[in-house]
């Protein structure tokens, strides 16, 4: 008897009283909760996203056009004195057009070691979706976001959100949009801990600075 059979046998004996014609999944769960909390215009949803991101200590910037964005990113990197920046393979070239030759661009490659990535100062990515109600960015490993580790090891992450089309109001709307089989990382502010006296402190193992750029004219 394998442990698989042992466990399944125990489960079936424990559930002997469940009738075979019990309500199927679809009808067992009336989803009476809301798809979204409150009524908001598109502009208000973007505003709420900015508010909630800032509330959890992300730094929020806004840009109307790509040239503005490339100037902003160049400024942010220079402001931190970043010597190197990680670039996912599918990132729009124009976003980094303003960045000078003094900043080395590091590609997201399978053969890079963690120690190599540890020497990179910053990383710039896009995102898959952003959730206004919770101030959350979701990355799904698409070409403009790269592997999960590149947004984890460098201490400074610049994430660009295209507004309004990448912004949703609520968690249910985000779950609906995401592809479950992709590697997903949900990010709400820089890393934090509440482990010392249940008091929140920002900045532990993940990037200690998260800058979010809302790109688009809303």
């Amino acid at each position: 008897m394998s442990s698989r059979d042992v466990i399944l046998g125990r489960v079936r004996r424990a559930l002997a009283d469940v009738p075979p014609d019990e309500t199927p999944y679809e009808r067992a769960l009336p989803r009476t909760y809301l798809r979204e909390h409150g009524e908001r215009s598109v502009a208000q949803t973007v505003e709420l996203l900015a508010e909630n991101l800032a509330d959890y200590r992300a730094v929020v910037h806004r840009c109307a056009t790509v040239p503005e964005l490339s100037a902003l990113i160049a400024g942010l990197l220079a402001g931190r004195g970043a010597r190197s920046v990680l670039v996912p393979p599918g990132l729009d070239e124009a976003w980094l057009a303003g960045t000078g030759a003094d900043v080395t661009r590091v590609a997201d490659r399978a053969e890079s070691t963690a120690a190599e990535l540890d020497r990179v100062d910053s990383v710039v990515t896009g995102c898959a979706v952003a959730i206004a109600e919770t101030g959350t960015l979701v990355l799904d490993g698409s070409p403009d976001q790269g592997r999960r580790r590149i947004t984890l090891i460098p201490d400074h992450h610049i994430c660009v959100v295209r507004v309004p089309d990448q912004v949703v109001g609520s968690v249910p709307q985000a779950v609906e949009r995401l592809a479950p089989r992709r590697p997903l990382t949900w990010i709400s502010g820089p890393s934090a801990t509440s482990d010392i006296e249940l008091d929140r402190v920002e900045g532990v193992h993940g990037p200690r600075t998260l800058e979010v750029v809302l790109l688009g004219g809303v």
Binding site: S3, V6, I7, R109, P183, S188, V204, H205
Partner: protein, 501 residues
């Protein structure tokens, strides 16, 4: 493990511990209430969470098989462990097969429950905890005392001392002149652990959720240590209790709203990782190695260890709905005063009081005492995001301890004898039943009690002393009610002597 009353007795005299716990639990209580109030459909989300979990548990055999199929199809390997020893053996063998002698760990209740670190140590494998609070516990050679914040019983000064004293033993020492500011302590942990993350080849985790339809695992965290352990190593081993399954991808939308608000009182926790088998960042069909993202080898260990026995209990099975948010600990007046260690298990507080005696059985002194470690105030039920009626289960387990009865242990039905230590209670109840069913005896007893009332002691002797130690004995009236009724014709006449005082 001593019984709860004895362990708690020692804990409540520790004024530092009391202060630490009061400060922490009161901080989080107010925040949680605020985070929950932000969501207008909390009651509906709570009901949905309860129903999703109930439905899954009632069809658990089907969903377990579905998880196995989905994870295997996504390139993972599924193992089944009937108990702690088997799970530890499986994990140790998987680590040995990689040739490594150290592993990094994400905080996981399941691996705490089975004592994985000690089992690996015995095999010559060092397991490094990477969650800040687990690190504090590990460096302090301590035991966790809270589900979410294992080091809740430590204040910042104690943590500073542990870091300064112990970090050098395990790796990079704490910086000179470390103060007790939480930001500096977090920074010290960051530096200490970074070298371990960067060189780790094997990561071990638990999971908050496993989605049956897709085979996706979900880990909810704050610090980024989880992301480090889940993405940097070549091999990832996840030990997951069989009750962690949810049927569909869509179900996550409920728990990703209720869990962060209930546990850390945040709108959303800083990091949540979701992965399915061995993940490629491109489409599933593309096995081009250049697109690989994260560990090349993924093992899922499905853990029973008393969960199927709990499932067999017609009242207690609801404890398996628990999503380990720890809200019930933070509101519990008993936990706040006794602390987590008194519960003698990795699951302290109200949920521990109903989970441990079911996972482990009620044979030991500590497990038999846990159902009594509560005032039944009901605050835990109020805040539970999956509506576990903890007081109901506590009363059910008390009945089982006092009276014995049929339970399931390791899949087989066994009949428990009534626990020791309840003999006096049972004798008193039997005597009461005998007297109440004989009116003459009852009347004689009542009259005797009335006439001797001046002589009654203020506390009970012998086995009743514990009962009257925290309660006043009810005063006995001058005459039994039935005598008064007959004498005064139901209160219509004054029978001549003032019966009522």
């Amino acid at each position: 493990m001593p019984a709860f009353p004895k362990a708690a007795h020692d804990a409540v005299r520790d004024t530092t511990l009391r202060g630490n716990l009061r400060h922490a639990t009161h901080t989080i209580r107010a925040k949680r209430a605020h985070a929950v109030a932000e969501v207008s459909d909390w009651a509906e989300l709570r009901e949905a969470g309860k129903r999703i979990k109930d439905h899954t548990l009632r069809h658990l055999d089907r969903y377990l098989v579905q998880v196995e199929e989905a994870v295997t199809a996504a390139g993972g390997v599924v193992h089944w462990a009937a108990d702690a020893d088997e799970a530890n053996r499986i994990v140790a063998e998987l680590v040995r097969a990689t040739g490594e002698s150290e592993v990094v760990k994400v905080k996981s209740m399941a691996t705490q429950e089975i004592g994985l670190n000690e089992a690996l140590e015995a095999e010559g494998i060092h397991a490094y905890e990477t969650d800040l609070a687990e690190l504090i516990v590990q460096l302090g050679r301590d035991r966790p005392s809270h589900i979410l914040v294992p080091a809740i019983h430590r204040n910042r000064g104690e943590i500073r001392d542990i870091f300064a004293r112990e970090m050098g033993e395990w790796g990079r020492p704490a910086p000179e002149g470390l103060t007790d500011s939480p930001a500096e302590l977090a920074e010290a942990a960051r530096l200490h652990l970074r070298e371990k993350f960067l060189r780790a080849k094997v990561g071990i985790s638990g999971a908050n959720f496993v989605v049956a339809e897709t085979g996706t695992l979900v880990v909810v965290e704050s610090e980024g240590n989880g992301r480090m352990c889940l993405t940097l190593p070549e091999t990832l081993i996840s030990v997951v209790g069989i009750e962690k399954i949810v049927p569909t991808w869509q179900d996550l939308e409920v728990f990703l709203q209720t869990l962060p608000r209930s546990s850390t009182a945040e709108r959303m926790n800083p990091y949540t990782s979701m992965w399915t088998g061995t993940t490629n960042s491109e489409s599933d069909s593309d096995s081009d190695s250049d697109s690989a993202d994260g560990p090349k080898n993924f093992h899922l260990v499905l853990l029973d260890n008393g969960r199927t026995d709990t499932l067999a209990d017609e009242v207690g099975w609801q404890a398996l709905r628990c999503i380990r948010c720890s809200a019930c600990l933070n509101v519990c007046p008993v936990y706040e005063r006794a602390g987590g260690h008194a519960y003698g298990s990795v699951y302290p507080g109200p949920i521990g009081a109903i989970l441990s005696p079911q996972l482990r059985g009620t044979e030991s002194e500590i497990d038999a005492s846990l159902p009594y470690a509560s005032s039944l105030c009901g605050a835990c039920y109020e805040v539970c995001p999956v509506a576990i009626d903890i007081p109901e289960v506590l009363v059910h387990l008390r009945e089982r301890v006092a009276q014995g009865g049929t339970v399931t242990r390791e899949g087989a039905k066994v009949v428990l004898k009534p626990a020791k230590g309840h003999a006096a209670e049972r004798a008193a109840m039997r005597a009461a039943r005998w007297a109440f069913s004989r009116p003459g005896v009852l009347r004689a007893g009542q009259r005797l009690a009335s006439r001797t009332r001046r002589l009654h002691p203020r506390t009970l002797p012998g086995p009743g002393r514990a009962w009257s130690g925290s309660r006043d004995l009810p005063p006995v009236p001058a005459e039994p009610f039935r005598d008064w009724w007959q004498r005064t014709n139901g209160g219509k006449t004054d029978g001549g002597k003032g019966g009522a005082e």
